[in-house]
């Protein structure tokens, strides 16, 4: 197992390098750079920034060097934990993204947890009562969950939260808790602001998991060892929970890797709508102001998160299903 993980981690390095090159190319694509963008913005606001000042700043931040050199400088800082300098925020990139990456991750993990806790029992219910009213209703609801984009759900949540319940729904804390010291009350307040977004984030994945669990369990329930278990006189709950579900759960673990991108995508978008400190708002601002190193580093870290998540899903599958051999 350890050798498998190490080998996968090593194989990740060349892919990550290619990903970083592609990232840098994309970030470099728009004409101009942060300074010309800044000059243009200053220009529209009335005062002007002369050409010499722009060039001076470009030289100061090394923006006049060829792209290859700038790429090499940027990427060679990574092993040292130096991800470049954000021109927009006048701060090292590392100081800006740490908390936000963590928040993106936290939101995704809570969401994943909720997804499983909800999807498993519903999937089992649907499979054991195939074509019943409840099953059909849940199937329809599942399709609906797949069809509504997260940001629309978030807008609806905003609407209902304000209009019907009159609660604070934006941001990570209520306004009165914002500057308070950490206390159980503050943690509870944060949970109140995090759990609804996590549910919204998980709706699509939940629908998918329910469908897969239902299909997988239906297939298992038709197998002979289940008939044998019933013939032995085992209780139905034991047959389902100990015999069938145990095996039927494996496909769910293997789709976990496929669901990660959606969770990361959703966390980015939800951050924008609900003003949560995820990567989203910072990323969009960096993209629009051409704050290259900040945008590039964030994109690279999101990819890294995705790759590590996939590795974890593979390991989890091997752990849950001993028939799978890792090489």
């Amino acid at each position: 197992m350890i050798t498998f993980i190490v080998r996968r981690l090593l194989a990740m390095i060349p892919t990550l390098l290619l990903v970083s090159i592609l990232t840098f190319i994309i970030i470099e694509l728009p004409p101009g750079d942060f300074m010309t963008q800044l000059a243009a913005n200053v220009g529209t606001s009335g005062s002007s920034m002369d050409q010499a000042a722009v060039e001076n700043l470009q030289r100061q931040y090394g923006l006049d060097k060829p792209a290859v050199i700038r790429y090499l400088t940027w990427i060679s800082g990574f092993p040292r934990g130096d991800f470049g300098y954000s021109l927009d925020w006048k701060a090292p990139v590392r100081d800006l993204i740490g908390g936000r990456l963590g928040m993106t991750l936290l939101l995704s993990i809570i969401s994943l947890g909720i997804m499983w806790v909800v999807a498993l029992p519903i999937g089992i219910y649907s499979a054991t009562r195939q074509y019943s009213l409840g099953d059909n209703l849940l199937t329809l609801l599942g399709f609906l969950g797949l069809s509504v984009p997260e940001f629309v759900l978030a807008l609806i949540y905003l609407f209902v939260g304000i209009f019907v319940f009159n609660i604070s729904v934006m941001g990570l804390f209520s306004s009165e808790m914002e500057s308070a010291a950490w206390s159980p009350a503050k943690v509870a307040d944060m949970a109140k602001h995090l759990i609804p977004p996590a549910i919204i984030l998980g709706v699509g994945g939940m629908a998918q998991l329910i469908r897969i669990m239902r299909g997988s369990l239906l297939e298992i329930l038709g197998q002979q060892y289940i008939t044998t278990a019933r013939a032995k006189g085992l209780k139905e709950s034991v047959v389902i929970n100990k015999y069938a579900v145990r095996v039927a759960i494996n496909p769910l673990i293997s789709v976990m890797g496929m669901q990660l991108p959606n969770l990361i995508n959703g966390a980015v978008v939800l951050g924008m709508v609900l003003a949560l400190p995820t990567i989203g708002p910072l990323f969009v601002r960096a993209l629009l102001s051409q704050d290259q190193y900040l945008a590039g580093t964030m994109l690279l870290f999101l990819s890294l998160m995705l790759m590590l998540g996939n590795l974890l899903a593979d390991v989890a599958l091997a752990w849950a299903d001993p028939r799978i051999r890792l090489e």
């Binding site: 892919t15 694509l29 984009p149 807008l155 304000i162 709508v273 993209l287 990819s303 790759m307």
Partner: protein, 379 residues
């Protein structure tokens, strides 16, 4: 006794019937089998019909919409949705709107003015447009004879434009951008996928590596980064086309992966060997034998990819990175609903979300049924 004999007979009848049905299946072509299985799934048919309706509405959007997408009623900003009323005396009519400005908040509210009944006319003349981009006309399905107020079935927006008209006209963008995006992905994906599977070796390695790198990115941030590279000053048509290219930049990888697997298996079949032995070139084998052989698969994947494309366009436009005004799409419209104040006072700005969910739901049902049908040999 006779009852049970009857029952017996019935069971036997059914058995012979189902056997006959089974045997008749052997005589059917693959496409007939697919059609049979597809028709059996009611949800998929419903989805298909709904999709057809959506596209028909998009095609005739300018006619069905009471007004043009940019037509403004400056006296009726943020008017709430109005209902069409009916009585025998007046036929179809709506009430005029009475405006009231709150002195404290300066918020304008509207109340139906029950003294003013405005008849609703079918085939009314209003803003001229080109039907399907071809015929000049100014006839709209519904309209009012008066021009000082409008009929706002789904309310009006910040600039006093009719939401229904904008949603209908926006459907042209939102529904076609996915179609074009899927089409581009199909072309790139089927050529690379089939080539990769057919040649194997180094070609396969390189293509798979490229796919792996692209798939290492979470799609939405990658789309956002790509969309941010589009210059602000580009004309709308160019932005539209660029967005489809950006969407297919990731879309093709999925298709290529799936087709590669299929072709890896097909490559060993006799008909490919026969073609090779009779001297057919690789290009001929790919385009005349392999792509037609996996065509059904391609169609299924295309219909399953549509919802993702529609959602991606709306998300990007919503985040101000995709289509931008003056273009109208569902995502562009939802952008106006963003923000607490907008939601609190003008919840009808959320109506485009209903249309998005409807379109995506239809495609999900349709694609799901098609996927089951594409494997017609399983019962």
């Amino acid at each position: 006794m006779s009852a049970s004999a009857n029952q017996m007979e019935q069971v036997l009848d059914e058995a012979t019937l189902s056997r006959a049905e089974e045997e008749s299946r052997y005589g059917l072509s693959q496409s007939q089998l697919i059609w049979r299985k597809f028709i059996r799934s009611r949800m998929a048919i419903g989805g298909g019909v709904a999709i057809l309706l959506f596209y028909l509405v998009a095609l005739f959007a300018n006619f069905i919409a009471p007004y043009g997408g940019d037509q403004r009623f400056t006296d009726y900003l943020y008017a709430p949705p109005q209902g069409i009323r009916f009585d025998t005396q007046n036929g179809l009519y709506i009430y005029g709107l009475e405006k009231k400005v709150d002195p404290d908040t300066l918020l304008t509210t509207y109340k139906p003015d029950t003294t003013r009944k405005i008849p609703v006319k079918f085939f009314a003349h209003d803003q001229p447009y080109k039907l399907m981009g071809l015929f000049d006309t100014d006839i709209h399905l519904l309209g009012l004879p008066v021009k000082d107020t409008g009929i706002f079935l789904l309310g009006s927006d910040r600039q006093g434009r009719d939401m229904l008209s904008r949603i209908l006209i926006g459907s042209q963008m939102s529904l076609t951008i996915g179609l074009v995006g899927v089409f581009l992905s199909l072309i790139i994906g089927s050529i690379t996928g089939v080539t990769s599977g057919y040649f194997g070796g180094q070609v396969d390695n390189v293509i798979q590596r490229v796919i792996e790198v692209i798939r290492s990115f979470p799609s939405v941030p990658l789309w956002m980064a790509l969309a941010a590279t589009l210059p602000q000053h580009w004309p709308p048509e160019r932005i539209y086309f660029s967005i489809t290219v950006i969407l297919s930049f990731i879309g093709w990888t999925w298709l290529a992966r799936q087709l590669r697997g299929k072709v890896l298996a097909l490559r060993e079949e006799e008909f490919v060997m026969a073609a090779q032995l009779s001297g057919a070139s690789d290009a001929w084998i790919i385009f005349r034998h392999l792509i037609p052989a996996v065509f059904g698969h391609i169609i299924v994947i295309a219909s399953l990819a549509m919802p993702g494309m529609i959602l991606a366009e709306t998300t990007l436009s919503f985040l101000n990175l995709g289509l931008r005004p003056p273009l109208i799409s569902w995502g562009v419209l939802l952008q106006e609903a963003n923000g607490l104040e907008n939601l609190r006072h003008f919840p009808w700005l959320l109506f485009p979300a209903l249309f998005i969910a409807g379109a995506v739901l239809s495609f999900n049902f349709f694609g799901d049924g098609l996927r089951d049908a594409a494997d017609p040999y399983t019962m």
